[in-house]
Subunit: 340 residues, 2 copies
DNA sequence: TTGTACGCGTTATCAC
DNA sequence: GTGATAACGCGTACAA
C-alpha cells in the first residue's frame, strides 16, 4: 500500500478539481449526478478515506470530546464513561479519556492539554473543591463547552449533572429509622466535597424530621476504603452507647465496617442495619446483601453528554447553563430489613 | 476573550515572522536567546496556546491512540484502559476509547473511524474469532500500528499482548488436585475464543499430568453470568456422580455456582472447592473468599502501550512483531483450601 | 540568526 | 455545475 489517497488523487484521476471532488463527496447539491457517481467510483477504487484532521483544522471542530475523571477503572467512573461514549459516538464524536489521580495540578494540565488539542468540549468530574476552585476557573474560562458531573463546582457559565445526593442521604436514613433503628451512625468522606456534604445533610434532616437526636459521636470522617471502614466501626462499637445502624456515604467504607461487625458476631440486619452509597457490584453478592443508594452512573454519563450536545447545537453564542439533578435510588437489600 | 492567538499574532506583535516564532517556541537551536525571550514573553502575554490539530495535520501524527474494547465499564477492560492511559499520557498521547458491544460490524466501523481520524495506533481487544478474522484484516491491513490485547487474533504483522491463559488454567486445576479434589468440573465460555480454549487446555493437561480422568460431563459451556452459573451448577449436581470442585473460566459464572451450592447446603471449601478466573473485586469480599486467577489488567494495558510505543519509536519501517505473554497469577483464597 | 515560500488535506468563496 | 484560489495554523527546506 502506497500513500493514502487524497481528494487531489481522485481529482487527477478524473481530470477535475479537488473542489469538485470535495463537493461530490459531501453531497453538495450543486453537482451533476454524473460527476458525483464518477467521483464516488474513483474514491472507492483508490480507497479514499477522508482525513478528519484536515477537516478538523479547517472547520475548527475536532469532533473529539475530553472526559476527565480521577480513575477510569473505578466502577462508577467507568460506567459514566460508558454512558458518555454510548451517547456521543453515534453523533460522530470520539471520547478522549484522562485520569487526574485526584491531583489538582495534574487536572489543570490535563484540561489545558485537552483545550490545546482543540476538543469540542470537556466533561469533568473534578477533584477541586470550593477552596481552590478559582485556580481551575482560569483554565476553563475562555474555551470550549464544559460540563461538570458528579463531583461538580458551581460557576455561572458551567453546567452540571449530579444525582440528588441530599435525597439519597435522606431516603437511606429515613429507611433505617423506619426499620426501627434508634442510633444511626454516619460515615462521611470530606466536608468540603459538596456531594458528601449533601448526603450528610440528608442524613441530618431525616433524623430531625423523625425526632431522632443528632449525635456527633456517631459521625465519622474516613477515607473510602475497607481498612478505614473497619477502624471506624471499631471506634463506634467502643462507644459507651454504640449505634445500631450505619448510613455510609461509600460502599467501600461500609464494607470494612460490615466485615468488622461480623468478626465480632454482630448480626446484620437483626442487631445492626447498614446502608451504603454507590451500589457497587459487590453489594448485591455479599452475605447479607447490602442496601445502597444507586447513582445511575450510565444515565449520568448520558445526561452529561446530552447537556454538552445541547450546548453546541444551540450554536447561538448564548451560554446555556443547566444544573441537571438525577434521582438517587435507594436499593433495599437484606442488610437493612429487620424481621418483624 | 477574543479569538485564540496564533503564531502570526505574536509575530505581528514583535515585527518578526511566524517562522521565527515557531522556532522560538520549539526550542530550535538556531535562534538568538534574545528573540526567544521576546517571543516567550509575547506568547504568555497573548495567552498563546499551540493548536495541536495544525501540528497533527502538518506532521501526520495526531498523538491520539485508539483503544477498542467490548465495554469500557467491565472491570477488566477499565483496568486495562487505566494502564494504557497511564503509560501513554506522559508520552504526550491522548487515549480515545470506543466500545464494540461485541458486535463485529460495529468493531469494523469503529476501527475504520479511528483510522480516518488519523490515530497513531490502535489497541484492540477484539470480538472477532478465527472464523471471521479475515473480515477484520482488510480493515487494518494498510494502516497505523495495531496491537491486540487479551482477546487477540494472530496475523503476521500484528503484535499481541495476552496473559498465559494456559498456565492459569493449568495452575488452577493442579491446585485443586493438590487439595484432594477428585472430580473437577470446568466452566468454559466459547471454544472459538482462543483465550478460553487455552484455559481449557491447561485444565485438561493438569488433569492428565496427575492421572485424573477427563470427564466431558464435567465440562459445561455457558455465558459469563450469574444466572447461567447457577443453572450449570445445578446440572452438575444432578449428575449420578457430581463433581467436588469447579475451575471456572470466569468469576461471574462461578459466582452463580457458589450461590447455588450454598443454597443446597454444600459447604465450600470443606465439601467442594472452586477457583475462578479474572480476580474480580467481589471475589475477595465473598464468604468464603474466592480463589481466582489474576490477569493483571493494568500491567496488560501498560504492556500493550509499550509494544505500541516500541513500534513507532523504531521508526525504521520494519514491522516489529511481538507476542508478549504476561504471567497469570493464581490467587489462593478460602474457597479452595481444604482443612487437613 | 532570520525571512521567504510552501505544503499538510480539506472546505468555502468567488468567479465563470 | 465546475474551476481557481484562499484559508485553517503550523513547521521547515531553502535562501539570505
Amino acid at each position: 500500500m502506497s500513500k493514502k489517497a487524497t481528494i487531489y488523487d481522485i481529482a487527477k484521476e478524473l481530470n477535475i478539481t479537488a473542489a469538485t471532488v470535495s463537493r461530490a463527496l459531501n453531497n453538495n447539491p450543486k453537482i451533476s449526478e454524473k460527476t458525483r457517481d464518477l467521483v464516488l467510483a474513483a474514491a472507492t477504487k483508490l480507497n479514499y478515506k477522508q482525513n478528519r484532521l484536515a477537516v478538523a483544522l479547517k472547520s475548527g471542530k475536532s469532533n473529539n470530546v475530553g472526559v476527565v475523571v480521577p480513575f477510569v477503572n473505578k466502577n462508577f467512573f467507568a460506567s459514566v464513561i460508558r454512558g458518555i461514549e454510548e451517547e456521543l459516538y453515534p453523533k460522530g464524536f470520539h471520547v478522549i479519556i484522562s485520569q487526574t489521580y485526584e491531583e489538582n495540578d495534574r487536572e489543570k494540565k490535563i484540561i489545558q492539554n485537552l483545550i490545546n488539542a482543540q476538543v469540542d468540549g470537556i466533561l469533568v468530574s473534578t477533584s477541586f473543591t470550593k477552596e481552590n476552585k478559582d485556580q481551575l476557573h482560569q483554565v476553563l474560562k475562555k474555551s470550549s463547552p464544559f460540563v461538570f458531573f458528579d463531583r461538580v463546582l458551581h460557576f455561572d457559565d458551567i453546567s452540571t449533572v449530579t444525582i440528588d445526593d441530599y435525597q439519597g442521604g435522606f431516603d437511606a436514613t429515613e429507611h433505617l429509622i423506619n426499620q426501627g433503628c434508634k442510633r444511626i451512625a454516619h460515615f462521611n468522606v470530606d466536608q468540603n466535597i459538596e456531594l458528601y456534604n449533601n448526603r450528610f445533610k440528608g442524613y441530618k434532616d431525616a433524623l430531625s424530621k423523625h425526632g431522632v437526636a443528632y449525635n456527633s459521636d456517631y459521625v465519622i470522617t474516613l477515607k473510602s476504603d475497607m481498612e478505614a471502614g473497619k477502624q471506624a466501626a471499631e471506634k463506634l462499637m467502643k462507644l459507651p452507647l454504640p449505634p445500631d445502624a450505619i448510613f455510609s456515604s461509600t460502599d467501600n467504607g461500609l464494607l470494612g465496617a460490615v466485615k468488622y461487625l461480623q468478626s465480632i458476631a454482630v448480626r446484620i440486619p437483626e442487631d445492626f442495619c447498614v446502608v451504603g452509597f454507590s451500589n457497587e457490584p459487590f453489594t448485591q453478592f455479599l452475605e447479607p446483601s447490602i442496601s445502597s443508594v444507586d447513582q445511575s452512573p450510565v444515565e449520568m454519563g448520558k445526561m452529561a453528554a446530552k447537556v454538552f450536545l445541547d450546548q453546541i447545537e444551540s450554536n447561538q453564542n448564548v451560554k446555556i447553563h443547566k444544573d441537571v439533578v438525577l434521582p438517587a435510588k435507594l436499593i433495599i437489600r437484606e442488610s437493612s430489613i429487620k424481621h418483624k
